[in-house]
Symmetry: C2
Subunit: 146 residues, 2 copies
DNA sequence: ATTGCAAATGCAATATTATTGCATGAACAA
DNA sequence: TTGTTCATGCAATAATATTGCATTTGCAAT
């Protein structure tokens, strides 16, 4: 399992402020965990990480916090795994997709307007009003190929 | 919850033969359930459906059967829900995506070479060797819009 | 048809993930 | 500082998923 840092350090306090959610201790704890883990992680994974740091947080609370963060778009839920990660493209509007390395677990976010347009077209042709779309690409990242 | 039939009737025996998996009673039961339910359904959902028909099947067995079917590409697993459905585009090669109506639950499969190409490009640019990609579009289907 | 082996299934146990209702406590605006 | 609203803790439970091992079954070779 490789490990490398490819993401900017996050000011979790700033993130919380931006989200306009209440600033609470548990929310800061979850944000810090997400920032430090720096990889998609399950709610119970966050709980375990916090335990190792000698702090506790109720699993239900973690679920609720992640749900709130997801609605506020400061985290994303990765549907294939049910894991969560901080949104790393804070300034971009529109749809985000994910690239996932099944070897080292590295997950990068991407934003592709072309893909977005294409999927709107597919939906339209089928008579659907598109409300959400989800893309997850998995494979071997550049580090693991070698 | 609307209901309508938009898919061809499936010869489950034929499907099994095509898959080259062993022809067993439990597998036929699962295939029949998937064909009759005609909508993505969870493993336990299949078990409940079978119970209503006065037949039983171990949940573990259902999981294993679905896994085998998935590997043989005669069913698809819908990642966002963890539900399974028969593959309805048997002749098409390559990537399949899904359109899902969050109102009536209708789920259609689609195949878009353009989308496939685009995602390969995204992966390449990020240095990934693409091995799998998953697309789920959700919204309101034409029936539910009106 | 019969046999033998590999593969599939059943069963039991358990892990993981997720949700709900209600009582208590904390944040923050007035 | 107070009051209301929202967040959290706790307890219970549901739903989803996996593993190991014993037994049975499909099916190919004879």
């Amino acid at each position: 399992m490789h490990s490398f840092v490819s993401k900017p350090i996050v000011d979790t306090g700033e993130l919380l402020k931006k989200s306009k959610l209440k600033d609470t201790q548990p929310r800061r704890m979850v944000l810090e965990a997400l920032a430090k883990i720096n990889m998609p992680v399950s709610p119970y994974g966050i709980q375990k990480w916090l335990l190792k740091k000698n702090t506790e947080l109720n699993a239900v609370t973690i679920y609720r916090i992640l749900h709130a963060f997801n609605s506020a778009c400061i985290v994303h839920r990765h549907p294939c795994s049910g894991h969560f990660a901080l949104c790393t493209l804070p300034e971009q509007k529109g749809h985000h997709g994910f690239l996932h390395c099944h070897s080292c677990g590295l997950t990068e976010e991407f934003c592709s307007p072309a893909l977005c347009t294409l999927e709107h077209g597919i939906a339209k042709k089928a008579g659907f009003d598109l409300e959400n779309h989800m893309n997850e690409i998995s494979g071997l990242c550049k580090h693991c190929k070698s």
